[in-house]
Amino acid sequence: MKRKAFQAALPHTIPIAVGFLFLGMSYGFLMRSKGFSVFYPMFMSFFIFAGSMEFVTVHLLLSAFQPFYAFFLALMVNARHLFYGLSMLDKYKNVGWKKCYLIYGMCDESFTVNCSVIPPPEVDRSWFMFFVTLLNQVYWVSGATLGALLGYVIQFDTKGIEFVMTALFAVMFLNQWEECKDHRSALTGLGCSFFCLLVFGSGRFILPAMVLMILCFTFDRKKEERETKREEIE
């Protein structure tokens, strides 16, 4: 049963393996270039297991000690998981002890596969999702560790390498832009964040930006509801 589920899960994770090894390696390499030993990227990629937040944590570890800020920043940056969770309430039902691990390892990529791929009928669904999650985590931790080890061997001017994080988000933004016809939410995110950055400064803009975004969305939704009601009456 496990073998079959593993064989069904593996091909779905191959593209993720390429991406995770590459990104994980750049993350490990970045950590190493900032002077952290290989154990940092190894344990951080294992325990946090949320790519974007791990990149952000590099900044956090290099600035003053503010654990509460770190906690709330993690909440904000990973708030999307809340919505992944809401979408997976049904799928992660009746999977027994594996549920805990499935939730723990629910990164963007594992969510995407587990949410959209329906395994063939002869394959056990819970083991399939378990292996998707496990394989992804193995790729990510190996990538981060390898990257850091590489950082010991290869030496070159790494100034500017932290831009890999910006590049990652910029490309994610472009991908989303093309996949989704309605650009309002992407623009709202960009606009609210930039506005709050200018108003509140770089240290304190995330929380107000999140609040402003939710307000904008809610206002927009109310407006749409009124319009559809009016159309119905007419």
């Binding site: 933004f173 950055l197 969305f217």
Partner: protein
Amino acid sequence: MTVMQRIITVFAVMAGTMLTRFLPFFIFPEGKTPPKYIAWLGTVLPHAVIGLLVVYCLKDAVFSVYHGLPETAAIGFIFLLHRWKKNTLFSIAGGTIFYMVLVQNLFV
């Protein structure tokens, strides 16, 4: 930061991350459905958060000497690469190398 402070920071980040993953399952245990408004937020927020993350990455660059000029140039370059090849990893690698060349040679 001392090693202990680093461990606490990593732990705080982990706790925050795990809270976002586990919370929905605690609030809505098997058999309960979330309200429509929350479910709807779940469809629009993920797109907006990516925009927030882009701005987060640029937060210090905006107030620096060059006011984010090398960053803007590199993002423009990523945009072109991405239109050309539509390959996520290629665009990320190309953009990062371009930026590194910029800040190591032009914007020193």
